[in-house]
Subunit: 190 residues, 2 copies
């Protein structure tokens, strides 16, 4: 293997490509596609998203202090691309994508009905990092499509068929085909 | 689709499962597996990892203010599971996994030679979030296996064959089989 040193680059693979819903305070809710998203704490359950200040959603998120992370399967790829390429200042993204807003239980932004999993989030900390602000939030409610849960109570990952964003290559992928086993596979049998 | 409300849960899919190298100040370097990892800023390029305070790597990371994120392909699944299940307090994980440390260019923790991509990171902010601290870091150098770059200069995602961790299901997956297209696929042709 021969390695090349590149300019510092955010070359983390895989990344999610989630639809984040926001707003609902004084304006119509909006949808923004986010790949700069990750889990940051287990107890309390927390995740973060990072957003550029110039994006239309930025103030919607800041003003409510809330957002919903809507997980995407491959069937949502066009909506994901649309909501990452167009601005809610110019378009009603629910109308344009045909996605359906549904009331959340604890926050003002709506859930996206067509997403298999919705995570309602309340912001706990915000930091200005440069091009992006990070919004670190507590997950206060989780909604899951019941048909995506197996009989033994696990998420059915192949059925969700998660959309994966490959930064740098700028490609959308899906179709996980190989299960290697469960966490703990190297633990000695007792 | 019928949805079920669950207790708040970190149900974000997909997640990476990276090998983070740390230490090298006064002790041998260590490796810890991390799924709580994401990109948080583009300029400067930044990512974050979250680590429990009780983990052996926690102080190694805190004391140097540095870590390296080593991206994993499916062939590294056993090392990934091992480094997430055993402690560097009890085992030399480089020896146990057979992974090879190589000097980094700007930080003290080593790169893992067998990883296709290594991201050298210097911590800029640390926050205590509860069960985990988040270490927000700037990526100061990026190393990529040249054979993982296509002729037109993109990351060859199928060749990297990234390992994907499905939290909740606690499963390791790989084998991305379907390319849906590139970012911008919904933009009108000019």
């Amino acid at each position: 293997m021969s390695k090349k040193v590149l300019a510092p680059s955010t070359m983390l693979v895989p990344l999610p490509a989630v639809l984040v819903t926001c707003g609902g305070l004084t304006s119509d809710p909006n949808i923004i596609t986010i790949s700069w998203c990750g889990v940051v704490c287990s107890q309390p359950p927390m995740l973060s998203i990072s957003v550029r200040e110039k994006r239309h959603s930025f103030n919607l998120i800041k003003d409510t202090g809330e957002y919903v992370v809507n997980i995407t399967g491959a069937s949502l790829v066009k909506a994901v691309d649309y909501c990452g390429n167009y601005s809610g200042k110019d378009f009603n993204k629910f109308k344009e994508t045909g996605l359906t807003p549904e009331p959340a239980t604890k926050v003002r932004p709506p859930l996206i009905k067509e997403s298999p999993i919705n995570l309602e989030c309340q912001i706990r900390k915000t930091l200005d990092l440069g091009s992006h602000h990070i919004f670190i939030a507590e997950i206060v409610a989780t909604h899951v499509d019941e048909s995506m849960i197996t009989d033994d109570g696990r998420l059915d990952v192949q059925k969700i068929n998660p959309l994966i964003y490959a930064t740098h290559a700028r490609q959308y992928w899906s179709g996980l085909s190989k299960l290697h086993g469960f966490y703990g596979l190297t633990r000695e049998k007792k």
